[in-house]
């Protein structure tokens, strides 16, 4: 068994017992990356130097008996949407090429303060806009389970790096499913925390009211351990919640006996892959066997979620992306005639087609005369969706659905069909509109050997219960132990 086959918590235990060192683990990751990433393309940038220096420092602390925390020395990597001081950060966009941030995102700072070396920056859809990682300006990421297929998006690199066993844990962001859908497509675990649970400071904004940074890893326990590092009130983020942080590992093994799990009929949508549906139904049966009660639910406004999302997210994005204008940093078009020309050409050259599409959608939705019909109405729908969930959670402890209606699709298959691509988020985005925590965990494979994900959604700030429910299923199956054939 190779070091990189270990889970994050297994490595942490070996570091604690000094069976291995952080430098060894970091070097093992770098070797694995050198071996497979040419095919996977999960990494946009490595920070070999920084990671090894951090690993050495961790080993020195360990030697002195002063580790910074239970995960001190475990190498991780972060989506390129997280700002890393001194390390180029592009959000997979040409417009930020060459941008070296002068500060760390709060999540990155927390990882560093907990002693985790950061290996580098992971591939993603440009500005997190996409569900296949194909909108990355630096080329798509490939699914380690089948290199001709997408790992999902936008946190495709974060998921693929885990599935390819290049790293022990990663950070992703989830605006409409961008952590959960790639987790489902790569047999990994991804958690979108409650909005406000993990700071957005230093995370490049896509749609501010929906963006949620969160942990991804290969097991439920690993995700819980990472969340423990990240969940923190941040005074630099005005939407960060000052809520108490529980011990996420404490109740992990408590099982689901007596819990009530809601099954919303609206999520078993037409066009859903029959193998996905079968796996999810089997998982529900499994939960029943483990002592949970299934409750048939209706979330009646689900059908409007996609439309509302694709008004709100582009509207906010059109404003958030205005700062990339060529004036202060990043790409600036050359030989332009005056200011307007400079703005226009810079943005034309710097942004890819999906980003431009969403900027235009959002600009239109916010423009005078259309605001009421589009943006405002979408916000009203959002309120109704939130109320649907609030009502459901008076009856159940969590809602269980498929994560993605289909398993990993072929690269290039949907790239010229934006609407069908948008449908990839149909199961995940209501959770963002409602600001709830959502988790995806492996629940099976198709006959062709592609992973299938199960989604759990919970009450605000009830991540601990989601993790416990996920762990109950994980304990009964070996899905997380299956390795991608790479």
């Amino acid at each position: 068994m190779q070091l990189t086959d270990l889970t994050l918590l297994e490595l942490a235990a070996k570091l604690a017992s000094r069976e291995t060192s952080s430098v060894e683990a970091t070097q093992a990751c770098l070797a694995r990356i050198a071996q497979v990433d040419g095919k996977v393309k999960a990494f946009l940038r490595l920070d070999e130097h920084g990671a090894l220096a951090a690993a050495e420092a961790s080993d020195a602390r360990r030697k002195d008996g002063n580790p910074l925390g239970p995960l001190d020395g475990v190498p991780v990597a972060v989506k390129d949407i997280f700002l890393t001081e001194g390390v180029e950060t592009t959000c997979a966009s040409r417009i930020l090429e060459g941008f070296v941030p002068p500060y760390d995102a709060t999540s990155v700072r927390l990882l560093k303060e907990a002693g985790l070396p950061i290996l580098g920056k992971l591939n993603q859809d440009e500005f997190a806009m996409g569900s296949s990682n194909e909108s990355s300006a630096f080329g798509p990421c490939h699914n380690p389970w089948d290199l001709t297929r997408t790992p999902g998006g936008s946190s495709g690199g974060s998921a693929a790096a885990l599935a390819a066993r290049e790293v022990f844990g990663t950070l992703g962001t989830d605006t409409g499913g961008s952590i959960r859908q790639p987790a489902a497509l790569t047999n990994t675990v991804g958690l979108k925390p409650t909005y406000g649970r993990v700071s957005r400071y230093g995370v490049i904004s896509y749609a501010s009211s929906l963006d949620a940074p969160g942990p991804m890893a290969r097991t439920v326990g690993d995700v819980a351990a990472l969340l423990q590092v990240l969940a923190r009130h941040d005074p630099l983020d005005s939407t960060s919640a000052p809520a108490d942080v529980p011990d996420y590992l404490a109740d992990l093994e408590h099982g689901v006996a007596g819990l009530r799990l809601g099954v919303p009929r609206e999520y078993f949508v037409e066009g859903m892959d029959p193998e996905v549906e079968a796996s999810v139904r089997a998982a529900l049966k499994e939960y029943e066997r483990l002592g949970a009660t299934l409750v048939d639910l209706s979330l009646p406004h689900t059908k409007y979620a996609l439309a509302a999302y694709y008004l709100i997210a582009p509207a906010e994005a059109s404003s958030n992306l205005a700062r990339y204008d060529g004036v202060r940093y990043g790409h600036r078009a050359r030989d332009t005639k005056g200011l307007k020309d400079m703005y226009g050409l810079t943005r034309d050259q710097g942004f890819g087609p999906e980003v431009k599409r969403r900027i235009m959608l959002g600009t239109y939705a916010l423009s005078a005369g259309y605001y009421d019909a589009y943006y405002l109405r979408a916000q009203k729908v959002r309120t109704l969706i939130r109320e649907d969930f609030a009502k459901a959670f008076t009856q159940v402890d969590a809602v269980v659905t498929p994560t993605s209606p289909v398993p990993a699709f072929k690269l290039g298959e949907k790239v010229n069909d934006p609407l069908s691509m948008y449908l990839m988020d149909v199961c995940t985005l209501p959770c963002n509109l409602a600001g709830l925590p959502g988790l995806s965990l492996p629940c099976g494979f198709t006959k062709a050997g592609l992973p299938i994900g199960l989604q759990l959604m919970g009450r605000p700030f009830d991540e601990a219960k989601l993790l416990r429910i996920a762990r109950a299923f994980e304990r009964e199956h070996d899905y997380v132990r299956r390795q991608a054939p790479i």
Partner: protein, 479 residues
């Protein structure tokens, strides 16, 4: 038809920079005059990933201003984004308050020839300032200084209740006085910390509907406000009189040429695509917070003026000058504790004190002498122990050195002679020496009376008590 057949209608939007030490959404300094881009951080530079965190002091100042102007303070107000591209706007949007501002519906009174007039204040909201583009530093490129980006502003919007350029200027001055009194703004139009846009329209007298309005942008002195509005009124009247039509547009005032010129028309007007700022939750203020601010509100200029006229019996003219600045009014009241002839005290303030402050610099808060010393000097003059003219010299000396008035009087030998016997002896001597003049005077040449006074004063080296000198002279001359 002449100008007088038209009625101008004017509303003002004032931008006042708040006197906070730090910016509205980050901890950077707001100090004026720092090296370009010195007072900046990732947040006010609009770097990727940054988020705004509201400065609580900004809210306190907004509530303070709202209460002073009699506004309703909204328990919940909402931040919005105003989107537009400009090189000195780092995020590509300005964070401001739009449809739900923190203060609504207040008023401010001004004095007009027809008496007191109430101008309604429609709203007050908080927002961040933009940076500054520098276009003349290089031939080939423009530079951007973001020191000002994120400096907190209050925007105070009046209803179109003003009917002349003079009223507009009076309203602006009154508003500035209030803001300075509150400690919310420094009132400095030249540095741009107090600036205004004017909406101007004209209608025929007796008409009920307002005319098409034109917005005049960023006017930075009281004089230019008057000139710009007056120019704009006559331009619009001329246009209508010659059969034309006023276009809705934004115009700039050119102080060099004394004209306004078009900046953009309605067709080119920005679509700011306002929407609620998702990075900041709605702002909630509590009754307790509002009460706290209300308790700390100072007496405002108008109320103080009217108290000065009633309590001290001062003319409105004096009261207005004394109350124009809070420290001056406070100082007047402090000296008035020790000297009860308030009109005489006011004369000294308006005459000597303000003149010395103007000529020699300083402020009433840094005077070298005490209120008691000031009062003692005035008492000495009133008693006649020194002459009024000598008193002014002593005051000048106190102003420069902070010495005790008694000490200065003694040092300079300025004590007035009020000994009747001594004065009588001098008077007798002078009359005896100038028998010819006495003859002429008694024969009716009354205008030479001053000559006798002069001679007596000269003989007494200026220290004779003028009242006694006059009394004795007139007696001896047979009046």
């Amino acid at each position: 038809m002449p100008l007088s057949d038209f009625q101008p209608v004017i509303g003002l939007e004032v931008h006042a920079q708040q006197l906070t030490n730090t910016k509205i959404f980050c901890g950077c300094s707001t100090e004026f005059g720092a090296a370009p881009n010195h007072n900046t951080c990732p947040v006010c530079l609009g770097l990727p990933g940054v988020l705004p965190v509201l400065n609580a002091r900004v809210v306190e100042f907004a509530i303070r201003t709202g209460l002073a102007l009699g506004c309703t303070i909204k328990k919940t107000s909402v931040w919005s984004r105003k989107n537009y591209f400009y090189p000195d706007l780092p995020k590509g949007y300005q964070i401001t308050q739009f449809d739900q501002p923190i203060c609504e519906w207040g008023q401010l009174s001004i004095d007009t020839p027809e008496g007191e007039k109430v101008i309604r204040v429609r709203r007050i909201h908080m927002e961040e300032d933009a940076g500054k583009s520098v276009h003349d530093a290089s031939a080939s490129e423009s530079l951007v200084d973001l020191n000002r980006a994120g400096v907190p502003l209050l925007e105070i919007v009046s209803e179109p209740d003003l009917r002349s350029a003079d009223e507009a200027v009076d309203y602006l001055k009154a508003l500035r006085d209030v803001l300075v009194y509150l400690g919310v703004n420094d009132g400095n139009m030249e540095e741009g910390s107090f600036r205004c846009d004017a909406n101007v329209s004209v209608m025929r007298k007796g008409a009920t509907a307002y005319g098409q309005r034109v917005e005049l942008k960023n006017i930075n002195s009281f004089r230019f406000v008057k000139q710009a509005i007056e120019y704009e009124i006559s331009r619009q009247v001329d246009l209508i009189e010659s059969g034309g039509k006023v276009d809705q547009e934004t115009r700039l005032y050119d102080p060099n040429k004394g004209v306004t010129r078009s900046m953009r028309s309605k067709e080119e007007a920005h679509d700011y695509r306002y929407f609620p700022e998702p990075d900041l939750p709605p702002l909630h203020v509590t009754d307790a917070q509002i009460d706290e601010v209300a308790k700390s509100l100072p007496e405002l200029p108008r109320a103080k003026m009217s108290r000065f006229t009633s309590q001290y019996g001062l003319p409105a003219y004096d009261a207005r000058i004394l109350c124009a600045e809070r420290p001056l009014a406070d100082y007047f009241e402090a000296v008035a504790q020790h000297f009860k002839d308030y009109k005489r005290l006011s004369n000294w303030f308006l005459g000597e004190l303000l003149r010395l402050l103007k000529d020699e610099g300083g402020s009433v808060t840094t005077l070298r002498f005490s209120t008691v010393q000031f009062a003692n000097l005035l008492a000495a003059v009133e008693k006649g122990s020194i002459s009024a003219n000598a008193g002014k010299d002593v005051f000048g000396e106190m102003f420069r050195t902070g010495k005790d008035p008694e000490a200065i009087i003694a040092e300079k030998g300025l004590s007035q002679v009020s000994d009747t016997g001594a004065i009588e002896a001098v008077v007798d001597e002078v009359l005896a020496k100038n028998a010819g003049e006495v003859e002429k005077y008694r024969a009716g040449k009354k205008q030479i009376y001053g000559f006798f006074v002069g001679q007596v004063m000269k003989a007494m080296r200026g220290k004779g008590n003028p009242a006694l000198v006059n009394g004795l002279l007139k007696k001896k001359l047979g009046e």
